[in-house]
Symmetry: none
Subunit: 207 residues, 4 copies
DNA sequence: CGCTAATCGAGACGGTACGTCTCGTCTTACC
DNA sequence: GGTAAGACGAGACGTACCGTCTCGATTAGCG
């Protein structure tokens, strides 16, 4: 027993193609115009869609951009480079590569800024973008444990706390380096940063 | 040899009080409205000033908000709590306290977002906000060296690289924890994070 | 030999009830909203009918309102009050009573306004509303002739011209009094106006 | 002592040229598009003016069109053709000539239609358009009295009632003939109508 | 009893205009 | 020349209807 599926609702069904066209047009407009000059009317035009169609699906610019940007980060993959350090360096460089794309830089920071005054938006960002990528941390740890680089987890709650800390440090540092300091996130930096992180974790863990 | 000072120019001199009133009104508007709903006309009204006066001094919303927010971060002080770890924890908590204020959260992230498409703005942010606070890292290191907690610097360029890395990690992690993860930056978190940072630096340094 | 009647066409026949419901809903909406805020979507909803059903029967708002209003004026009856003057006064008051109803005021003038740029619409108004009521003039004259108040018609074309003139004067004056001057069309006014009309006709006729 | 005149108010004064340009553009748009397809955005564009400028002066389409149309009827003049009948015929033909212009036909009837649901608008129409033209009736009567065609007025209230009646009959009949019956208001019709009116008035007056 | 075909409801679609808002500039009079 | 006030041209906002379309579900007559 489920509530009416989309297929069985009366009336003309929503166009599936429109959603994809709108999100692609949003990213295109972010590249060309940036967040602040992006207008929903322009996005609709680019997508070959009426403004009403866009507003029927998203309640505003913020929500639309979250969805458009979220798809970008789903491209992240944990590479298997043999050691935990090398795996982390790989993810850091991939993350930096995405942040180098104008649609990601502009869109991501803007919605984070907006989310400081809109709890629903902040939750949406966490669900659609941030928490989805914690999988990378979990996957990396599991792989390192399989290799024998890390011991198995003893305590579940401690484990979750550590995952969050690692995530804040990696994501925060890379974003700050790339967008605020505006210095290159290259292999050398990634190596230095990864060393700091792993040594810090190891020492803190044995303490 | 200077170009005409303000005092010696012909005509009515600019009101000094106006600048302060405008910046204060900007912060007030950021608290109440947030970045995206803040309008320059409204700021001018709050400051009891004509729009023309505002535009004569700042070229736009971005520049105005950078200046309004920059003043907030100048309140940061490195406390002397006896050990390097305690000093860092103190700064982290102060930083988090500022980020808890709506005018800082909303304004800072928004101008960073705008700066992704405006190099002049990014430089202005770095000069007015970010680089000014690197003094805290330098001060902290000097104090730790005086205490004998850290060895004297051997290499100037290596030293600069390390300062940047520390700054990216601290600022990035705290911002991410506070604004994106939206979890509390409390004493416990500060202790764990500081431990990770210092152990990581120590190990990486000796390597 | 006729083209396929409705009954013999294949497929589901049109609902007869829908037409009446739509016209009633149109009048109801005219009362509540007036012409300019009346929307076909709202009429359809009020009539419990889909927009498609409405558009299948009427090509637009103008045509729909003409039909909805036309039914109102078919209520007019020539009373038998014993003299021509009294009969005319009776019709004038009936006409004014209809014009006092909001659905008639608003709808009638609006479609006349629209008809200034749409010849087909003007013809439709004449056929559905105006010319149908000329019966009242003809009936009144015939009755007056039977009573001996008026001589029999001598000239057919002259007669038609007079009917048109009478109609323009009566309809025009009552509408102007009621809708533009916004003064009451009461028994006193009707008596004065009828006197002017009949004396004018009598004198002009004998000239 | 008056409340602040326009000239002494602070700030930039409103452009006088804009008002004229907007009213002219409104009439132009009425000619080309008619009432229902006239849009305020289009009028603003034609006038070389921003939409805000238009809305600052008029609250909506109705008020704008009343003012635009009112200017047309101020062109009416009472000709001196030697006799009262000839004078009336002249005014009737002038009135018909104005009603033949599309901007007058379309605009006038539409605002009258709207005024059936908006008392403020109806008053505005009466003040700006209708009552201003009663001057023609008064002027015509005075001239006829000077010529000896009519006796001097005995009773003021009776006189006002008669002026209103005459005005409703003339304006109503001409409008109905021109716009609803859509028959020509030519010299022959004007002669017949004027005869009816004057004979009716004379007979009713002596009664 | 199925087949065919037009109807019905619902509601999404591409458009267009709405009336409001903010932008950054300009034009006043006053100081 | 700086200032407060406020009008200006420009253009985006989010909403409301337009008239059309695409659905699945009726509902008739004909074979």
């Amino acid at each position: 027993m489920q509530s009416r599926t989309a297929a069985s609702r009366p009336g003309r069904p929503r166009s599936a193609a429109a959603d994809a066209a709108i999100l692609a047009a949003t990213r295109e407009a972010l590249v060309e115009l940036g967040w602040s000059k992006l207008t929903l009317g322009d996005v609709a035009t680019r997508a070959g869609v009426a403004k009403t169609t866009l507003y029927r699906r998203w309640s505003g610019k913020n929500e639309l951009v979250v969805d458009a940007v979220a798809e970008l980060f789903d491209e992240l993959r944990l590479p298997d480079r043999g050691t935990l350090a090398a795996d982390i360096e790989g993810v850091v460089l991939q993350f930096a590569a995405i942040l180098a794309r104008p649609e990601a830089r502009s869109g991501l920071m803007a919605v984070v800024a907006e989310s400081t005054r809109d709890d629903a938006l902040r939750d949406r960002i966490r669900e659609s973008i941030v928490d989805r990528q914690k999988r990378l941390v979990l996957e990396g740890r599991a792989r390192a444990q399989a290799r024998g680089e890390l011991p198995p987890e003893p305590d579940a709650s401690e484990s979750a706390r550590t995952v969050d800390l690692i995530f804040d440090v990696i994501a925060g540092a890379v974003v700050h380096r790339a967008l605020v300091s505006a210095e290159p996130v290259d292999a050398a930096w990634a190596r230095g940063f990864t060393a700091l992180l792993l040594e810090g974790l190891a020492a803190a863990g044995t303490a």
